[in-house]
Symmetry: C2
Subunit: 441 residues, 2 copies
């Protein structure tokens, strides 16, 4: 019924229906429509201001098919309403020729911003900057500059003026206050301060954020490889970077896709989480395989199975502690990669010591519960080894990923958990098997 | 030997030794010294600029004892060098009388800042603000104000002027540009814009950060309950808040103490992580207890033990996914707590669907491996239930903590893992036991 209505999306009943449907639900119907119906639907959605949200709910393939069928003006209207990040995603999925013609159709400021994002990548100073920053020439007088500032100050916050030579090389800055305090006939060249923190357009955004924090800046000029002024970054955009970066670390440690949030509809959540769960299933099978090697031992001493969850749980927890500390330390720039050997050694030592202490607690508890000294000894030994492995891999995995220029958080929790599971079960069940064969030859 | 040298810390050999020792190592020797030796050591450490770092390495009790033995001037020198956060920690550990006299001895700006932190708490707008913000009175003329700005602008960034009435109630703001463009004889009252975003001093810092992002602000005035100007928050301090908040979420989900970082020495790391590991040991014992109820079943079918790591691992992973999504969503203000029922239901549904799908994969893999249809069926069922439990508790725990006005991340991962372990083993081993008794009566 809904579908029948949507086949005539321009008519009143369909419009009323569309206005009430969730964009996610509209998205599910889109693949069922013919090109003509789709074009009409899109016109209606644009009028109802639902087009952008519906497009965002469409997945890769469906989205590309929709975009291919829409007219350029319809796509530009959507791009104008999308966030810069989503707009770049959309533009990147199009052919270069269409991308260029769409960019031209946008208003110049938006077009320049998106071109920069496409050129430098979204995670760089170039992608982050506002390229529209006004340039002031070194040979201009204070009086002429004041006149220009007067017209500019109405539409933007202008606290610092960036002074360039006639080939746009950045020479220095003049604060608004310096400008109004200076004699009108002086030239900017004479009053500028050359002591200015700049950043290259290809600098990763994490480093940009660290510079902002180090110098307590409100804005920072961005230069190209030749020192020419390319734009400026405002601190409020850095605020978003810091937050997104932290969310990414969190998500990656939990094996979540960065595109999911609390508003994601269930079907999409399932699709986004499933790959990670299947990878985890495969790696957990490795732990299961290790256990399967010791079925005979477990058959003789079923109590070993009782303690398996403790071995796995403690290793996982200790590994996550180390991993999180490392990932955050690397993200915040606390880590000197040349000293990574010492850091891994230190974390392994912490794991060993905590393994010894919790192993003691576990061994004593097991002794009280099961009154079996051999079992207690095995648990103590396995727990110590388990947490040593957790410390070692919890530190080694993110350091190695970072040295390979990959994200230290990506997939590392699955790797570390597998290492602690395998290491824990091997040491626990292996030692038990060994001792059993000695005690009962 | 070292200790003998340190008994005369003012002499050359001891000075040379101290300069080479790590503050953490000095800290370990401090409890062994007599009060006189300690006072002399501290004088030397202050000269060597090692006192602050040594103090930071001392733990609660040892630190209090050291502080009790030091003269007020020695403590103030240290406070002046500590970060605001550490300084407040230190001041809070002292008696009120001594705290007040130490605050008086500090330079006025530092003293005002620390008093605010102590009064409003560090995690509020009041703790975050700079109370030293200049007040401009509404009846002042533009000319007089320009004169005052001239003297102020040299030492601080002054982009907006906060205009107050004679009882310091905030009336509005005047931008520097509005000021220099206005006729000199006009009064601030006539040129101010009253449309200004303010924040109350007792607002939590998370909300402050959200306001800054919503309005893209560079600074925001802070007012007390009566609307009087109390200070101003700069965006660079908000940058630190956003970052600290994210680190806290990450750390709490991983059961790490927020005071640990990559530079923490091993002994302290062990102490900080051990409590969480022991709590985890206790909750993991609950899972072990559940397994112990099914020892008979496992003895008959040892292969069940082989699949236990998969049950535990998948439940833990799915629970962490949901939990992380919820904690971050709540922190970023995505969550409407009145709709928490719907959110929990949605996450449970996602867990159920992923449980069904991964259960199918697991069941088929087990069928290929073990050629046992009953085992496969049990695994499918248990996996579905396991991930449903993971979705339910992964969402419910942080929501409940938030509604109790606690941190949604604190301890929640241990609770959720316990729930998935217990739920997973109960459903897996429980169903297996049930089916076995049916098949083999």
């Amino acid at each position: 019924m809904i579908l029948r209505l949507l086949r005539h999306p321009g008519e009143r009943p369909a419009r009323r229906l569309l206005a009430r449907l969730h964009p996610a639900d509209i998205a599910e119907l889109v693949p069922l429509l013919t090109p003509d119906e789709l074009a009409e639907l899109w016109r209606t959605l644009l009028e109802l201001r639902l087009a952008t949200r519906t497009l965002r709910e469409l997945d890769g393939d469906a989205r590309e098919r929709v975009l291919a069928q829409l007219a350029d003006e319809q796509v530009s209207t959507v791009i104008a309403r999308l966030s810069a990040h989503d707009a770049v995603d959309l533009l990147e999925s199009l052919e270069p020729a269409r991308r260029a013609s769409l960019l031209e159709a946008l208003d110049p400021a938006r077009s320049a911003q998106l071109s920069n994002l496409l050129r430098y990548g979204p995670a760089t100073a170039g992608g982050l900057m506002d390229p529209e920053v006004p340039r002031f020439f070194a040979d201009e007088t204070v009086a002429a500059t004041l006149e220009r500032v007067r017209t500019l100050a109405e539409e933007r916050r202008l606290f610092y003026l960036y002074v360039v030579d006639d080939r746009e090389h950045l020479l220095g800055i003049v604060s608004l206050w310096q400008l109004v305090s200076a004699a009108p006939e002086r030239r900017l060249r004479e009053i500028l301060s050359a002591d200015v923190v700049t950043v290259r357009a290809d600098t990763p955004e994490e480093e940009v954020a660290q510079e902002f924090k180090r110098y307590d800046l409100l804005m920072m000029p961005v230069v190209d490889a030749d020192g020419r002024l390319a734009g400026a970054i405002h601190v409020d955009d850095v605020l978003d970077v810091v937050e997104e970066q932290a969310t990414e670390d969190l998500y990656r440690l939990a094996n979540l896709d960065v595109h999911e949030d609390l508003a994601t509809r269930p079907a999409r959540s399932v699709r986004l989480r499933l790959p990670w769960l299947l990878i985890n299933l495969a790696t957990a099978s490795l732990a299961a395989f290790v256990v399967s090697l010791f079925q005979e031992t477990i058959a003789k001493y079923v109590v070993l199975a009782v303690f398996m969850p403790i071995v796995a749980g403690m290793g996982g927890n200790a590994g996550t502690q180390t991993l999180t500390l490392m990932v955050r330390g690397i993200a915040l720039g606390e880590m000197d990669l040349r000293r990574s050997g010492a850091v891994v050694a230190r974390q392994t030592l912490v794991g060993f010591m905590n393994g010894l202490l919790t192993g003691l607690a576990l061994g004593l508890a097991a002794l009280a519960w099961e009154r079996n000294a051999v079992l207690s000894g095995v648990l103590m030994f396995a727990q110590t080894l388990n947490l040593t492995v957790a410390g070692f891999f919890g530190a080694l995995v993110p350091v190695t990923l970072k040295q390979m220029r990959l994200d230290p958080a990506l997939g590392s929790s699955i790797f570390v958990t597998t290492a602690t599971d395998v290491g824990g079960f091997l040491s626990f069940l292996g030692t038990a098997t060994l001792l059993l064969s000695i005690l009962q030859p």
